[in-house]
Subunit: 305 residues, 6 copies
């Protein structure tokens, strides 16, 4: 994998030279927030929305990155620009930017933050095949975070519970993606994705009160509005997913990934649904990239984020 | 601060040269478990109990460190031995050892783990004064993890909720330590400590079903048995802490730290309690170090873990 | 009671000859799902909606009845046709159809299902009087199922909790009907009915996320839309029922049954409400049967389902 | 399978002639309670304890079977006596006795109960192999009943949630047995079994507050006392099962079945544990039957309960 | 403070002469409900809405005040009329009316109620300054009531939990006002106030399912509709308050009080927001009183309710 | 009823002259704590235990009564002494003492407290008959307070939820006493009483973690120890009460009141149980008063607390 330009605490350097210190709270306490935007055909997509969410995360956890939203945005765009020569080989970028609370012991809340901006390859290899076959969604017993313990709207790096969800889904099907329920037993979200179903022509997705407020989730709803597809945001249970006509995950890298099986029940007719494909086509047109074709083309490579 | 010998993925090197890669799942996903034991007068304390707990954590999250308990123990002891020349200056060590799931994207569950063993200074500066004045325990609204979302008995690095608890406690009193409740409203634990109270001569502490199974917590109970102090493990509520005769935190670095105020209510007579002091004295004798005196002596220095 | 034609595992026979085997999982494990549609004046009502729900139940519990929806529908209609000669005596039918997982021990998940279709008399005797006096709704302490334990949208035969609710309601008033709350304390549903209230001219009913998705419930909402009555689906608490202007149960056999008392508080003016009566009149017109008059006429007879 | 003598509402008849009526509340509402005792070498085991629990269930649900405990006991013993000639072929009996609320519509709470007593073959085929290999326990997302909805101490036939647990466990491993958690995330019970673990030589099992009060569970604890094995009844979490030294299910038919894998983590050394084997040996001696040998001998036959 | 005319059990007397008996259930059991309306420029505001809510409270708790809504309304208006001479000095009235269950022991549910109507000064002193500086909202760990224990829509005098919330907020900031969460961790309400936020130009407030159904809350929403401000009623979490563009409390005495800080995070730009000021201006115009100016003018005086 | 000497804010006066002011926070906010001890034959019983609990309540809610425990105790004893001449007529006293936070608006947390000590007649009339017939315990849907909202160990006057429980129990049986469950569905306590059951000779009662820590509850357990009756404190569910051999309420006025019916299920043999009677006899002997005989003698009179 080529060595991309990466920003680390005020300096641009090759990614291979960036290293996190052992005493960084982001490492040993998971005390960091991050966000991620994608390029399509090299063009950054919805940077402002991602940046706003990043600064909401920062405010919530009270980390002051020492940079304004404008400065952070500029860094993200510069990252894209510096790495443009590598794009043809890599497909398209997922720009990951983060701030940890910095070096300090567990009582050191006012340390100097660590700020990172990197261009990672979009991980086509982890999802491209699902555009064709659909994914198997496995509802795991691991539950989503609650606002009482750790606000699920925060995009932080304390993600062990999502790792455990992933481990658990694989026990059912090595290729499955997990879906987490909230405390009441409603469908919350995937591990880094939002969940949509289609029932009787209506697009349905959980409200964004107890999940990450997905930028792509919003993009899907806006696209639905443009296409005249009715949608609701409401509590959804496993019953609704099992008995849906179609279903999909939305994610920043993939936009919409069909779900064709859920807990070993066939969803709809067991193949990517009509509404899902309609949304993918419209999205591809809007960003000027055949997102399915691109993913299938680059599927053999692997990214680290 | 002197540069201690540190083990990193098979090699011993100065701590300043160890750096975590950006793509390490331990960094960007909090996908790591760790543990920690202390030396007293340079002698490792309860290494086996800490090592057992570390391997229970590893089994739970399904990280295979590629080392047996005996090999990990040997690394811990070698760390102490290599750094012995620096001990006089630093006081005593907290040996922190961890395994991350290694380099890989979010679907890479079978990566090659990252293993680290380091000797950090025991953070006397963060607690020594409380031996004399007692700490202010603030019960925060941030709740402890639950087994449904993330098993509280695991010693992992996804600790953002504990950081938020710490942030919150400081809003009441800049010097306060947080206490977290479980979902039912019982007292669970501090952020890295266990909680004890004394009522009518009986030592009381929450059962270890929903908290970290503190090795020092067990040591306190064993010491109580030796001293003929009655104790119970049971559900405890804020009411019990407010109205206790005395209270303390147990931690690996400090053994027992008096609590003299809880949510601005004076605990007992507002000074370190008799049973707490008795336990500290007996413990000091058993490890051959005056733990209070040592902490007060080294309180000016600061460690990074 | 006359002996109706009944379908049992591929054969039509008099109901009195149908008998369930001891080893049928439907009997000793409650491992069965069912559904029910009514005739009005002999004409089947909303068969497709009931059949769809039945097949959603089957999919959820993973029982394959070995019959397509079209085949099951045909059986239901044939049941009506075969029993038409008895209708004058019986009033109108409630067609009950079910599938158990069949004969087998508790580990036998792939047994040959038992399929039943029967025409039972609509149980006018159990509700007719309430059209005139209104029912007493007693909110019981027995709670509704949750998706975590057993999906309340499923129409299964494991209904002991509803029996207990009924037992409990009778301790307050021998003639009362129970209302169950969900885990959060919201009104969920009756035992086989949905609950509606009217407040300031607005028809209000719980969302269908945690209850049986009543076909009649939907019919009531559609009727309200036609009549220009505003309605909302939302969380409702006992307070709302006690202080409503009027209230009613909706059920497949009765359409809408007035509630005039709730936990011994008079609802509205203590008699069937204006909106309730308006809905009943419009419904009667739409199905061509005076549903109130019919029920009062047949109230003396008793059905077994 | 031979046709055993069965008691049905006052009469003894061959099991094949017993059939439940369609209108029996036990069939279409799951409105029935039952219990089960075993013979060992033809000798009934702990009949009184099972009978007491049956009458507690009856009292709770308010079904009056019209028979005293003494009369029910006599029927159970008569069942054994009548079927003694068949025992050599079948191995040993599981005597299943039940009372439904009888024939009647959903409001008919004072119907004439249906009472059944039958001798079923002990289902050796479903568990015998686990004495040798150990079972795989899969902790499912389906939760156990709660006292609020349906008292888990009741032995009723509304068991669809247990069926769903079984379905779910098989998605992980076709041969797995499910373990259900309670609402708080503690281990509750299997589907018809209790769960035991051994940690550091101590036998641990959930308290019987939220589970079926297993007669065999009590027998295990009594046996442990006799053997000088320490035991505690307390809240246990998945962590404890994963990290136990050994584990087993207790059931009426099998006494104790080793668990050697839990959610794909190896339990202990992955083979039947020492304490488990000790308990099995002592139990075999006490009932005068080599329970393991008997089960392995009869494993090829299948029973319907 | 001047001695206002007060109604007590059928008589008008100076407030100083009214005294509650020791044996009044309203005193020693908190067994009373009340309500409160304000005058603006001496003119009663939304009396009917407040009176309706009072009678809903009475019905819920089953206290019959022995007076019709019309009679209670007349008493409220008479109170205003009798005290008109004192208004110039006092600013404007908050008319507080209540009914206790009367004199009787704890089993005496059918005692003769105690009925009170009093004119208290609007407590300008407790809130006037916040129109200028904004209030600090502190989210406390004390949770709001639930319908299971005590219906939060009831306006009763058993308010110790709100007192504790107030005590707790002061531990963070002596001048802070508390905000209570519901059981799920959503924002519920203040202690006697409702909470509003503004995000991207949309006014957002919790649904009124689990809170006091504020008459002023409704007035705010109606005012927003008139001004063309979009609004939603939905679940809101602390994250939303921290990251809002502006926020305010609504209360009967103050209409809308800006929130400029929440848990030490600056809300919006840290000063009263544009929408808040717009609503205040429009409300002032509608009631013919400059509510901000009036409060600032009378801020030095103190009322007892 | 004779006019007893009562202490009110520093003065002794006839009870009829004490009156609470309208603006007292104890009246309009339920912002007060209290406690209660009894005399037996004129001799105060366990005054210290009741006084300790009162001061724990005060500390929790942060009301400083301006009197030391010794001074409060002296007031209580003086109350008994002053009223001794009336005792022959009244039977025995329940000494009720309380502190409200005093006069002040809802933000006035540091007002001057109101302190009251009164001698009320022990309310024999409300319970005497149950010594003979046993009480009917009705488990209500109203749940007990939780530590999150309002600590159930506090003895405060915000008791509306207990009033609602009482109202609800009467809907089942005019003479019933309510039993409240905790949030998990365990039996918590009665409205002012603790609950005990006897199963197989073992006395069982809920732990005192989520209930009022009854002084009489402790007295019962101590008495049991003296009499050699085994007892456990543990979670108890309705099932346990329904199927118990005997049951009783403990209260300060009555010591132990038999329960002979629970939710219309006969408890044991439907008459006061053997262990209950044994405890009552032993208690009578220990206090030198035949508590049953005394209650029956004075049952016709009525007290106001």
């Amino acid at each position: 994998m080529p060595d991309t330009w990466t920003y680390y605490n005020g300096q641009w350097m090759p990614r291979s030279q960036v290293r996190i210190e052992l005493g960084d709270r982001g490492f040993y306490l998971g005390d960091a927030v991050f966000d991620l935007f994608r390029t399509f055909g090299g063009k950054p997509y919805r940077v402002r929305e991602h940046m706003d969410r990043f600064f909401r995360s920062l405010k919530y956890v009270r980390i002051d990155p020492g940079l304004s939203p404008e400065e952070m945005t500029a860094l993200g765009l510069e990252c894209v620009r510096r790495n443009e020569p590598l794009r043809a080989e890599m497909g398209d970028w997922s720009i990951w930017y983060a701030a940890t609370r910095g070096l300090g012991d567990w009582r050191m809340l006012d340390a100097k933050p660590t700020v990172i901006v990197q261009c990672a390859q979009t991980p086509f290899g982890s999802f491209a095949r699902f555009y064709e076959t659909g994914a198997h969604a496995v509802i795991v017993k691991t539950r989503n975070n609650t606002p009482e313990t750790l606000e699920p709207k925060l995009k932080h790096t304390s993600r062990m519970h999502l790792v455990m969800a992933d481990v658990e889904a694989r026990d059912v099907d090595r290729d499955a993606w997990p879906v987490l329920l909230d405390r009441e037993g409603n469908i919350a979200e995937g591990s880094g994705s939002n969940v949509f179903i289609v029932t009787d022509g209506v697009l349905r997705t959980p409200t964004d009160a107890g999940i990450l407020q997905g930028v792509t989730r919003t993009a899907v709803l806006e696209m639905a509005r443009q296409l005249g597809i009715r949608f609701v945001e409401e509590d959804i249970q496993p019953y609704d997913l099992y008995t849906a006509d179609e279903a999909f995950f939305s994610t920043t890298p993939a936009f919409a990934l069909p779900i064709t099986k859920a807990d070993n029940r066939m969803v709809g007719e067991g193949k990517p649904g009509k509404v899902t494909r309609q949304l993918l086509a419209a999205f591809s047109e809007s960003v000027g990239v055949d997102v399915v074709g691109q993913a299938l083309k680059y599927r053999t490579s692997r990214s680290s984020v």
